[in-house]
Symmetry: none
Subunit: 197 residues, 4 copies
DNA sequence: TATGAATGAGTATTCATTCAT
DNA sequence: GATGAATGAATACTCATTCAT
């Protein structure tokens, strides 16, 4: 137990070190050596906790993906209207704010979120944030007479869109400034959810 | 001018070779040497036509992005209904078909389309396909009383969504099978465009 | 004749370009392409005037070696005492001054002067500076009852020493600061020439 | 400590391999791969012991510089006269003999000795050869009423001169045969040290 | 568990030089 | 004479991973 705890701590330390480095210098240019050095362990130790480099990358992305979504959700909650379509639009706005404010992180998350986390958490019972989001969806689904599953999928696609457009716009400046695209994204989300009602 | 023509041919040959190899073995594992060998030129010649490896990758992605969109548009035209929202949904379906049928290409396009091509072509006058797509939009925009610009942006975001969801689903199987997500995507597109009317 | 003149001009332009680049970025990192670009001619043209890269390096070093020595000699003349040993010491001082003031040039001359120039010029009749230096030596040799040849050799060795010590000291800081070594060098020159008298 | 010893052995093996190759084919044309192959270790291992190629070059030059001087000093000792100026002249002769007999080594030492070794050894107490040379100087300095420091510097400059002239003469044949210059060098050394007395 | 020395595969890029025009 | 497109040899260095201790 104590020993198990220690292992968890070390694994967490490794991930924390990796996260910091990924943010600072990108994940491509961060070597396993960099990570272990920053974590204060020997190189070989890394392989006791992660199968390979990709393994830690995925682990970090999963954690960060969840955090981003949680943070955006909480921000949305602070200003929620009670109208689902409107609230999801606010959620998207919070996500875009976050991406804009964390350009390096967006570059590192790269290919969008990691969605296993999304579904797992969605079904998990332990986390208040996700419980709450799920309840929102369930309630709205019932109201619309749609299946909850379909609503979850729709929200997933819309969040994907946010990530994809934000990446192109912020990282590459394509096809134009995020400021121009933000209202379009919000419009799509609002319309697309309103239409379900 | 004969010489200029030769240079164009050589550049094209390099790009064609790169495209083939990227499809077969991925762009990460394709070396500059592989490309020049396949193109039948010396290694050094590569650098007369492209600044570095990334340069040719981008060039190929831009060309391929355009081709994909053109192909999907032509497929849609074959079954178009005349209703814009419905036609765009068909376009999305054609795109998803294409992605599903060209998994390696999807893996290589990776970061989604390259949108400068999109906008340039959109404004170009020489290409019938893009002229046609643009006319569709212009007509629809007028009908809805929206600006053409806004409509173009909306379509861009929706196509982005297609690419992003298709990538996650097809390449990583996240969060679920494309078959499950396809109707959701189509629904979003249809609703989101219908709502503008 | 006119055509011969043009060739000379082009060769000189190439050398001038090379000299400037060598000074700015070192001769190792200056490519033939850099030189021809700076000289405003095509790459192939270079090989009409120089056998290879080393050829132009040597040509430039020879010219620069001569210039350095001439410049130092003229400086010495301005303060000459008429005493040969003393004057040669002054010459060494002028050389060291020059090296100290032209660190990049010293780095590029690298392997010390190019002495064919020294001997050729010594025997040449056209150049007033070298005539003068030679006369100094001849006069002193007669005075000492030594052969002129031996005196020239002695001066050559002493100038070599100046270059060698200056290089180590200025470029690498070994074994100590030039300020500490300068009086030693001067002492050696003075003593060594005085001893001949 | 066993492991520390092994590391020392490996580093030494690398340097030995490098030295042999530098002598045989020059340092420019010796690749890191050549060195590791000759030393029987993997390429990557090289970089555990040396920062880069230049690092091992310097390391080898320092060691070899010391050896050359030691060897020449020992040769001189065998025929020493007890007269300092004369003995130093003999030392120079031994150095020139050595250079003449080891043309490839002279080519590789290139820019003359590496003098940090000189000074460190001069002050070290563990090495009999350098102790002896230093004692010679100390004794002579006292006899002349000069500071030991100044004498060391003078000897340094004179040895530099030997290296520089030998390099030009032996490697490039400039400005003439070493046979012609040898008596001149010896004369300068003798006179210059005699003058101090 | 932890270490860290050793490995060795893997590649983009430069540039002197040539030669057909 | 002049051009500049084409060549292709040549190499340092990184880093994920392993394994003996």
């Amino acid at each position: 137990m104590n020993i198990e705890l220690k292992k968890q701590k070390k694994k967490a330390a490794l991930m924390q070190a990796a996260y910091t480095l990924f943010l600072k210098q990108g994940m491509e240019t961060t070597s396993v050596g960099d990570i272990t050095e920053a974590a204060g362990v020997a190189k070989g130790t890394f392989y006791l906790y992660f199968r390979d480099k990709q393994d830690i990358v995925t682990a970090v992305v999963v954690v960060v993906s969840r955090q981003i979504l949680e943070e955006a959700y909480l921000k949305m909650c602070a200003v929620r209207t009670g109208d689902f379509a409107e609230d999801m639009t606010l959620l998207a706005g919070a996500l875009l704010d976050f991406f804009e404010a964390n350009k390096p992180l967006l570059g590192f998350i790269e290919r969008g979120f990691r969605w296993p986390a999304f579904r797992e958490k969605m079904n998990a019972t332990g986390n208040a944030v996700w419980q709450s989001l799920r309840n929102d969806m369930r309630r709205h689904a019932q109201m619309c007479g749609k299946s909850e599953e379909e609503l979850v999928r729709r929200v997933y696609c819309l969040v994907s869109m946010c990530g994809s457009v934000a990446y192109s716009s912020i990282i590459r400046g394509e096809p134009e400034d995020l400021a121009k695209l933000r209202p379009v994204i919000c419009g799509i989300i609002r319309d697309s959810l309103r239409m379900m009602e």
